[in-house]
Symmetry: C2
Subunit: 244 residues, 2 copies
């Protein structure tokens, strides 16, 4: 454990640097091998699964805190993030799993500990390029990994319902905003892009209509044919011609 | 000042019953005389304008708190509410206007008073039937009134930008959800409904296409011709055939 990590652990345990009662939970979506995936953490010793999350420093902008939290888990910068819902039911904060985690990790606490109080959690979803992410656990987690969205494990607290709500928000946003591109690698075929849309929306799309709509947006640049070992009908590769 | 009002004033001043650092701001939209309107409060003595807002009791669900806050200002129940954004920049909390208000109202305070700390504010918009609202100020406000949205006065803190963001969210939601109806009285003509859509979207719509789209939703019930004093082309009145 490095000195910085130890200091961070103590800082979180004491809570003096953070706003109390308020947390961020991040649903980090990635896409790979025709699968929509979510990045999940697993706590050491207890084995409990959770969404990546964190707290807001007393003088930190909320959206900056969300960037920091997702950056720490993915190694990326300038991440596409959307606030999608605030989870604020009184009954959502069950202190039991957090008590077990603190006990297992040797963090002194009684019932008045700030981590055991009620938290209102601001839900963000993040769209990232799977191929660029290096999942990073921290000192109280021993797992930070991608899980296929259908069939993710049971998560702590209300985190499964947070994932569900994030997916609904992503689907609604998909039609109104050009955001799906944040999930793609730098170069891709129109077929790749169509599979992404079909996976998120969970339905088949007609190829000619999809391609016409996407190309009409004027944001794709055709760069080269994909090398497929000599096939006549090799598809073209595209990339985005504008910064996102 | 009734005893309950005095107790409420003391409760807010002391803050012991509320979550600290977290507030609700409500953009309450109404529609009347071809105008989209917003309900605003004006503080006694200082004259400062503000959005209706409030705090969350320690054991209260967040969405229930928002219902309560909007209900207290409008006299309505079961109000259509949408969370639309969380305003969490560090710099948004300027304690000066609140200090002036507390001084003017004889509320003892020093710089550590809970109302003078940083607040993260959860923005809700509400859609209400203008004809049913009885705007109600409380003991520290002497004004609670409707203002036409174009040209509302300068509001405290970042509240003008909260209104702007709420309008953007309402426009985006209008296409995806059947929500505009919450702004209408019980009976209305298709012409009334079209004017509402045109006002929110700030653009003209083609009458045949609009009527076809709305009627195809199957949620309107035609009830009678509007009485217009004998004109041949009196329009029909409609109401909603389903609970919203």
């Amino acid at each position: 454990m490095t000195r910085n990590h130890q200091a961070e652990k103590e800082s979180v345990a004491q809570g003096g640097n953070y706003m109390h009662g308020l947390a961020i939970d991040a649903v980090i979506f990635g896409f790979h091998d025709h699968q929509l995936k979510v990045l999940l953490m697993q706590y050491k010793k207890t084995g409990l699964f959770t969404l990546p999350g964190g707290f807001i420093y007393k003088k930190e902008n909320l959206n900056d805190a969300a960037q920091r939290v997702v950056s720490e888990r993915t190694g990326l910068e300038n991440i596409y993030l959307e606030q999608f819902y605030v989870f604020g039911d009184y009954g959502r904060s069950d202190p039991k799993p957090m008590k077990a985690i603190m006990t297992a990790n040797g963090i002194a606490h009684d019932d008045s500990h700030w981590l055991l109080q009620r938290f209102v959690s601001i839900g963000y979803y993040a769209l990232v390029d799977f191929t660029k992410v290096i999942p990073m656990p921290d000192i109280i987690f021993d797992g930070c990994d991608w899980y296929d969205l259908p069939g993710i494990p049971q998560l702590m607290q209300d985190h499964n319902s947070i994932v569900k709500k994030a997916l609904t928000a992503l689907r609604n946003d998909l039609d109104n905003k050009l955001i799906a591109f944040n999930l793609m690698p730098e170069e891709f075929t129109l077929g790749d892009l169509q599979i992404l849309y079909e996976t998120i929306l969970d339905k088949k799309l007609l190829r000619p209509a999809f391609q016409r709509k996407i190309l009409s947006l004027g944001i794709l640049e055709r760069i080269a044919k994909k090398w497929t070992g000599g096939a006549h009908k090799a598809p073209y590769l595209y990339r985005f011609s504008k910064p996102l």
